[in-house]
């Protein structure tokens, strides 16, 4: 790092605060667009900001029978994990801040941490609704992790066959060398299938309809979040917002890392600006198709139906994608 520790801290703070703001803006867009699709007017774009401010000002209730340190710790761990995700993901034209210190495997773990934190918080809440929600979250985690990992590892493996020297699990390498440039038609079809599988995994990873089963408002009154209020709920709310951006940024980095500035022969600060804007649009497109459209168009599934969906068709699709990538290498 050129600017030393001070600059690094500034960069880190920018990424963290920017990520949180961005998450809330996307949440606002999500709510507005979903409302328009449901023939409603919807809340103003800045509603998520109001929500966070209000929640932070509210009383933070810890249930009598809850294990307080676990109950209070879970939202902090959750937000910390998703925030640190931002350091490992390429955002816009910029390489990840901690690109040299962690790779794709770390990202997979960091993605799982919020879910586990929510589960722990749910069990610690000592509420039947939260317990049912935590059990459901556990089943969800076991269902969608497998296709997620298949997709990520297949892509890294295929890249390793092309660039044996590079550290292919590093996200900056993955983003700098889009597989589309290397693979043949078979591999391209495989990549499309993997992208499809990840698009289905995204709403599950983010607990959005039809996979909001652990929170199911009408069934278990918010499930995992049933007992959370005030500051703790605000942290979970922020974590959800940031995770949405992080998950979409991961998909963009893996499947569509291209910048616009090079193609427009731009340079200097303008190039950076154009690339960041283009990146934000790409993230919005991913959020639109994998979160907004899906949550407007479906009813909530039951936990066994969701588990079956991920274990058979989605895992199937990602396995076929993997096999096609292998065949592409052979051919």
């Amino acid at each position: 790092m050129t600017g030393g520790i001070g600059a690094a801290i500034w960069q880190g703070a920018t990424v963290l605060i920017g990520g949180a703001l961005l998450g809330l803006v996307y949440k606002g867009i999500d709510r507005k667009l979903a409302a328009r699709m449901q023939a409603r007017i919807g809340p103003p774009l800045r509603q998520p900001f109001f929500d966070v401010v209000k929640l932070l000002a509210k009383e933070n209730v810890v249930p009598d029978h809850a294990i307080a340190w676990l109950f209070n710790g879970a939202p902090v761990v959750s937000l910390a994990a998703v925030s640190s995700l931002l350091f490992y993901l390429p955002l816009g034209g910029f390489a990840p801040l901690l690109g040299g210190h962690g790779d794709l495997v770390l990202v997979i773990y960091l993605l799982a941490v919020p879910a586990i934190a929510m589960m722990v918080g749910g069990f610690a809440a000592a509420s039947p609704y939260a317990s049912v929600g935590a059990q459901r979250e556990m089943v969800m985690l076991m269902s969608y992790e497998f296709p997620l990992v298949i997709a990520l590892v297949s892509i890294a493996w295929r890249l390793s066959t092309i660039l044996p020297e590079a550290s292919v699990f590093s996200l900056s390498v993955l983003a700098a060398n889009p597989l589309w440039d290397w693979v043949g038609p078979l591999g391209a079809v495989g990549l499309v299938l993997l992208a499809l599988a990840l698009l289905v995994v995204t709403p599950a990873e983010l607990s959005k309809i039809p996979f909001d089963i652990p929170e199911a408002e009408t069934e278990i009154a918010g499930g995992l979040l049933a007992e959370y209020s005030g500051r703790n709920l605000a942290l979970f709310y922020l974590a959800d917002a940031v995770k949405t951006v992080a998950m979409a940024a991961l998909l963009v980095a893996l499947f569509f890392p291209y910048g616009l500035a090079d193609r427009l022969w731009l340079s200097g600060p303008l190039a950076g600006l154009v690339d960041v804007a283009f990146f934000l649009i790409k993230v919005l497109v991913v959020v639109f198709f994998s979160v907004i459209v899906v949550r407007v168009g479906f009813a909530r599934l039951k936990i066994d139906q969701a588990a079956r969906l991920f274990w058979i068709p989605v895992t199937g699709i990602s396995l076929v994608g993997m096999v096609l990538l292998i065949l592409d290498r052979v051919a």
């Binding site: 699709m37 449901q38 023939a39 409603r40 039947p128 609704y129 049912v132 309809i209 039809p210 909001d212 089963i213 199911a216 408002e217 009408t218 069934e219 278990i220 009154a221 918010g222 407007v296 168009g297 479906f298 009813a299 909530r300 599934l301 039951k302 936990i303 066994d304 139906q305």
Partner: protein
């Protein structure tokens, strides 16, 4: 409400635990308490405890004159706010021997059927919400506004229409308003296919409702289920068909079952959706025919309220009134005594009361995720249904068993008979 037959348990493996739903819970639109015994996510036992929405309306009615009771009856329930007055007017007309002019019979039919349209659309939206399908909720409730506007145009109110009075109706439907109604009905006729597709052709709705909360024909008969709940189970039971009243005899109404959708009835949630949507279509037809065939004539047999009151004061006898409300048969009983303005007895049996028991077989074997939609599938209306709440002197509610209730009601009957 608690007796042994209500708590059915199936053989279970492993440890079970209990989860309370209600009296206040997002799955419930009105207060009622469920206690589910769960084995994992599967329901192996259920205990139902109503009584949280009891307001003593019957008692209040027995302290007021009959015109006031009529207004009170409208306020038993906001959604079936015409069904209760229609049943009450029939009961009083039956007791006092008042004739209702034919045009008034048609107007009662029209408002009653318009209420069915709005109630079923309301239910469809609630059902979609319980499934986590809010898009369908918003779209359904948006189109429901049309019939609410029409009801407001015809009666002056969105709810509590204040249309029936003993011996007729209080307001005419002039030709101009009839045209307005025809336009709204055409709108629904065009829309209905889309609505049927949205609910019945949608894969995710089918996944959540097919074979969920099934009620066998035998259980429906044994537990005396009524309305769409019974019809979805294949019981062809409809007061409008079985004991035609108002203009229904002229309009040839028949009970709708899933067979009309070329499906063998299983009584699950999907079947109740079929029945209710087909009934919206049926109501559109009934209203259109009634508007065309409505005869000219008087609106009310005793126009002056003062004259009506003094006539009712002289009346003596008991009467019953039945109406096929959107949720099933609503039944009112009144007993009048000469020289007394108030009814001596006023008893209301709402459709939810009859359907309450159907919940038990519907819930057994289902999953936690099915609880909201199964609870909603009978379209429960607690404020209609809660007619009794037992509390001891300390104010705490207590539970009475069947034998004790029978003994108590026999004692009360003897007391009333003197």
């Amino acid at each position: 409400m608690n007796n042994e037959s209500q708590k059915i348990t199936t053989p279970r493996q492993g440890k079970t635990y209990t989860i309370p739903i209600g009296p206040v819970h997002p799955a419930l639109k009105e207060p009622i308490e469920f206690s589910f015994e769960l084995d994992g996510e599967r329901i192996v036992g259920v205990d139902i405890r109503p009584g949280y929405a009891h307001r003593g309306i019957e008692f209040m009615g027995m302290k007021r004159n009959l015109i006031q009771v009529l207004y009170l009856s409208e306020r038993i329930c906001g959604i079936c706010s015409i069904s209760h007055p229609l049943a009450l007017t029939q009961a009083v007309e039956n007791a006092a021997g008042i004739e209702v002019p034919p045009r008034a019979q048609y107007i009662r039919t029209i408002i009653g059927e318009l209420e069915r349209i709005q109630s079923h659309l309301l239910w469809a939206g609630v059902a979609a919400h319980e499934l986590g399908f809010d898009t369908l909720l918003h779209l359904t409730w948006k189109v429901r506004e049309k019939v609410m506007d029409l009801l407001e145009d015809l009666t002056g109110n969105r709810v509590d229409y204040a249309i029936p009075i003993f011996g007729g109706v209080r307001r005419d439907i002039p030709a101009a308003k009839g045209d307005l109604a025809h336009a709204v009905l055409r709108y629904y006729r065009d829309l209905l296919q889309g609505l049927m597709d949205a609910f019945l052709e949608d894969k995710s709705v089918e996944m959540r409702t097919r074979h969920v909360g099934a009620l066998s024909r035998g259980d429906a008969l044994r537990l005396c289920a009524v309305g769409p709940t019974a019809r979805a189970a294949g019981v062809e039971k409809d007061v409008r068909q079985d004991m035609p009243y108002f203009a229904y005899a002229d309009l040839e109404v028949r009970a709708i079952t899933p067979r009309d959708f070329e499906q063998e009835p299983v009584g699950d949630v999907f079947d109740t959706i079929i029945v209710r949507l087909l009934e919206v279509a049926q109501s559109i037809e009934i209203v259109e025919r009634a508007l065309c065939e409505m005869p000219e004539g008087e609106l009310v047999s005793i126009p002056k309220v003062a004259a009506l009151l003094s006539f009712l004061k002289k009346a003596e006898g008991e009467g019953i009134g039945r109406h096929e409300a959107p949720r099933g048969e609503v039944f009112h009983y009144v007993r009048l005594e000469a020289g007394i303005e108030e009814p001596i007895v006023w008893k209301v049996k709402a459709p939810t009361y009859s359907n309450l028991m159907a919940w038990v077989p519907k819930f057994m074997g289902a999953e936690v995720a099915d609880i909201p939609i199964i609870a909603a599938s009978i379209d429960p209306c607690m404020c209609c249904m809660d007619r009794v709440h037992v509390a001891d002197r300390s104010g705490r509610a207590s539970i009475r068993m069947k034998e004790e209730l029978i003994r108590l009601s026999r004692e009360k009957t003897r007391r009333i008979l003197g």
